[in-house]
Symmetry: D2
Subunit: 157 residues, 4 copies
């Protein structure tokens, strides 16, 4: 029971941090569709809008938007892993650990032109260590066509 309350509090902190406190996430217009505390899986989504376009003729996502979404969705998996690793510590300690987590490196593969009206990005943890988290991240459009895939390594606080 108490554990459930703690988990919900942590998930709420992560959600608020991402959606309200990070200006660039607001520019991108992302939402959080899933935060799985047990597995570290995360899903984000966003809609196409003019500001995100990188090729006006084809009307497709800017490669930087794709890279940003992949980084930030994998980052949610890193935060979940961080929270779980420190789960027996007080919430304010966990909060500090979350904020000091950061991407070490990332690879993005642009598989198809970023066409679509709405997009969904899924991250799964493929390595969960006490300091290092590696996530595999995939970006799909509304027809479930995979636009891009990526792998990112995070240092957790």
């Amino acid at each position: 029971m108490e554990k459930t309350i703690m988990i919900n509090e942590v998930l709420e902190k992560i959600r608020t941090y991402y959606l309200e406190m990070l200006p660039f996430n607001k520019v991108l217009g992302i939402g959080i569709d899933l935060l799985d505390y047990e597995t570290g899986d995360a899903v984000t989504s966003f809609d196409m809008k003019k500001d995100l376009i990188g090729n006006p003729i084809a009307g497709i996502l800017h490669g930087g938007v794709t890279a940003s979404i992949i980084d930030l969705t994998g980052g949610l998996s890193a935060l979940l892993s961080c929270a779980k690793y420190h789960q027996n510590k007080p919430i304010d300690v966990i909060e500090k650990k979350l904020v000091s987590s950061a991407t070490i490196d990332m690879r993005v593969d642009y598989l198809r032109p970023g066409k679509g009206v709405s997009f969904k990005c899924l991250s799964r943890v493929i390595r969960a260590g006490s300091r290092i988290v590696v996530a595999k991240i995939d970006l799909y459009n509304e027809t479930d066509l995979r636009i891009a895939t990526g792998t990112a390594t995070y240092l957790i606080g």
Copy 2:
């Protein structure tokens, strides 16, 4: 003489395309400081602003902004290589080739927190083929501290 005119026209096309036609580049607020037609080197710059922040406590660049700048600055090297490869073709053919160029994949290494008031990003071509261009890209802040480095592979039109 004629060649110089053609080069200037191409450089102007690339500049206009990047700075006026790509909405996401406007969101980032980039400028183009160098386009070296012979070598493919390119330099972009931008100032810190609230919209680009990814950690409100540390006041540092969002990892997605860093990745975006690395992708788009390397992209300029790809466009320069593309233009040079097709240099004997008519300008409207070159223009189509430019627009159909695209990033294949990219690695970004986040070396230091993205602190700073203004940033400069340098791209150098390390592989120039008829179809494939690979660029090495570095992002510095105003104190010449390297924030991030990356390598990106582009398919040229």
Copy 3:
């Protein structure tokens, strides 16, 4: 019927090339378990032996062996894609195309220590173009534990 004969001939060429003509593949001691002409999927396998060790205390695979296996298994997917793309051409033309195919870049993620007595490596094509093939490759030990994962981009002949 004729197409089947051609496919078998191509698969045999790829097999002979990999297993008999590439000295370093012999050093590694690889076998080919699957070559799927239609999908581009490929599976290789090899046994642990002293020469492949990179940490004598832990008795685990050298990181270079892991990277080599990932590169060469993904390379099979690239060759299959190359053969399929040129399928209507004479076999000696296809053969030349195969031999001129090459890795452009690769990322390897070392997920767990390379412990095991035998290993299996699976490659799947995630982008198949006329010139560029991108493969996702995973290395498992005999207990189906994933040791490493990778993504590689190939230029096909």
Copy 4:
């Protein structure tokens, strides 16, 4: 004086470990040309030989050999950083830390066909942390032509 003795002892440990205890390094036939304790820079070298060939027609290095050399040369930079970080600890503690260091991930870019009679590989530390080391590694042939470049992230013990 004492510090110099300790440094020499550590460098000798790293050298012996790499050259005598790692079977796969012997297969590759590498030598160590430089180990800079202060900067973390490292240089290795090796000669072309039949076993390292990956394309019998072109007579070029196997992509796996290139990846292996890049991984292991960057690994020397990681070991040097590890030794320096733990420099005030007893030599047997340092030794254990060295052996538990490992590659997290690596990108390799194959810039040119691996032609040559002898090769030199240089690694420079581009990020040195208490746990994470990132190295930039370049492989050259005897004419100083760059064959490949890479970036690798290491977890130090």
